[in-house]
């Protein structure tokens, strides 16, 4: 059983030529396209103490970096406590990729269009990072820096991701997927905490439309402290938050979607995610989202019948 520090020392010795291999569901496809060409891969698979989910002292969760998406989906306590996580995991890639891909990999890869990072950003996630020199922590929001660019040094590995617990919270994640790869052309995560019928705090995070997943802080300010329940979902309140969700962002433009279309998608998805998070905070899981067997099968993406229905942001 390899020790993490031995692998880290190997990485330092190998220098530029080495990359760590976790699930490989992003790295191996990049290598096949020659977008990455490390000479050495250091397999992290044997580090069993980096797997699993634990409750931490404050009732939040510490997720081992080598926990696969499939394992996280099947860790009922986390998915139940954070519906946005359950939403994102259900819509992320496909079952085979989820069986191998890891939460640490999702964070360390720095993909500007990935489903888990915006949910983690909306949960104020903190990373624990190990190197031969010791351990440090970093806020995910500081760690993600740009297109496939993070604060991770070559001899460091992410060991755990910690997410906070909260009071009366609702959360949701909505995405518009590329139909073959399932990568989000746009995705929005929303976490809303209610107090005395008002929005005490809100976190909104966006992926897929710019150089990195980001917090839409102007949108958050627009819904915070808003008037009691009946007004929360009214036109002026949500519309203001939705209109601000891509403010100040330079949207990506490529063969899949233009910049303005990505902004439009983010606005549509922001309306869905924020209103669903508020509903879930107010009522527990919104009963209308459950199927006859009491399971929530309502994805918040726009595949299927919804795809061609015009929807204003």
């Amino acid at each position: 059983m390899p020790h993490a520090l031995d692998l880290l020392a190997e990485a330092r010795a190998a220098g530029d030529e080495a990359k760590f291999l976790a699930g490989g569901q992003s790295l191996l496809p990049m290598m096949k396209l020659r977008l990455a060409a490390p000479q050495v891969l250091i397999d992290l698979a044997g580090l069993d103490d980096l797997k699993g989910v634990r409750r931490d002292g404050d009732g939040g969760f510490s997720i081992g970096a080598l926990t696969t998406y499939r394992e996280l989906q099947r860790a009922g306590a986390v998915a139940g406590a954070v519906p946005a996580l359950a939403d994102a995991l259900a819509l992320l890639a496909d079952p085979q990729v989820r069986a191998r891909g890891t939460v640490g990999g999702a964070v360390a890869h720095g993909d500007p269009a990935a489903d888990l990072p915006p949910v983690l950003l909306a949960l104020d996630a903190e990373l624990t990072i190990a190197s031969p020199a010791g351990t440090r922590t970093a806020l995910l929001d500081d760690f993600l820096q740009g297109v496939f660019t993070t604060d991770l040094a070559e001899d460091e590995i992410v060991t755990a991701i910690t997410i906070r617990a909260g009071g009366a919270r609702g959360s949701a994640y909505a995405k518009f997927p590329h139909p073959a790869s399932h990568l989000p052309l746009a995705g929005v995560a929303a976490v809303v905490t209610m107090e005395d019928g008002r929005v005490a705090r809100a976190e909104v995070a966006v992926t897929g439309i710019s150089s990195r997943p980001y917090r839409a802080r102007d949108s958050e300010r627009a819904v915070t402290s808003r008037a009691p329940a009946p007004d929360l979902l009214s036109e002026p309140v949500l519309s203001e938050a939705v209109a601000l969700v891509a403010d100040g962002i330079t949207p990506l433009s490529d063969q899949h979607a233009s910049g303005p279309y990505r902004v439009h998608l983010a606005q549509v998805l922001a309306r869905r995610a924020i209103s669903s998070a508020i509903k879930r905070a107010q009522t527990g899981l919104d009963a209308s989202g459950l199927d006859a067997r009491g399971r929530d099968t309502r994805g918040l993406n726009t595949r299927g019948r919804d795809t061609h229905r015009a929807e204003r942001p």
């Binding site: 190997e10 010795a13 190998a14 030529e17 291999l21 490989g24 569901q25 191996l28 496809p29 096949k32 396209l33 000479q39 050495v40 891969l41 397999d43 698979a45 499939r70 259900a90 890639a93 496909d94 079952p95 085979q96 990729v97 069986a99 191998r100 073959a180 790869s181 399932h182 199927d291 099968t297 994805g299």
Partner: protein
């Protein structure tokens, strides 16, 4: 430390231990097809989208084009060849695919069967919607998916 050009791989494939020394860059799908001559697992897109390469690794469906043979060493693999009995009887999912005409050219079929097996292991009584969602990692060019979904639901009924 000089990088290894070759790795020793020991895998239990369909119940039999297989060993080989292969280039470190060898993907599991190529190890199965080229080294072990188990050509039922197909390379479709090589971009992790189509699922024609799906096999079970330690009992869980994965895309073998996105796993290195070195990563599979020390583990168990089940390929499509491992499903039918020594007598030649088909696995219930295979039989359902036959009964429901769930294949035309057959290229996606091994991967589809392996993915349906995973679905039924996780969810023995799926809805139509759940079947389609569980097969989101498998692409079929011929059938339009209707009969594949019917076969999955039939296999679920038969297996309960």
């Amino acid at each position: 430390m000089p990088p290894a050009q070759e790795v020793a791989v020991e895998v239990v494939v369909n119940g039999t231990t297989r060993t080989a020394t292969v280039p470190a860059r060898t993907l599991l799908v190529h190890f199965l097809r080229d080294h072990l001559r188990l050509t039922g697992t197909h390379v479709g897109c090589d971009t992790t989208q189509c699922g024609a390469c799906t096999v079970a690794l330690d009992g869980v469906a994965v895309k073998s084009c996105t796993v290195l043979a070195a990563q599979a060493s020390g583990h168990e693999i089940t390929t499509i060849e491992g499903l039918s009995k020594e007598t030649g009887d088909l696995d219930p999912v295979q039989r359902a695919f036959q009964d429901e005409h769930a294949l035309q050219c057959g290229y996606c079929t091994p991967g589809m069967v392996m993915a349906v097996r995973q679905l039924l292991a996780d969810n023995p009584d799926p809805t139509d919607h759940e079947v389609r969602h569980a097969l989101s990692g498998n692409i079929c060019r011929c059938t339009g998916y209707q009969n594949i979904v019917a076969a999955a639901l039939k296999a679920a009924r038969v297996s309960r």
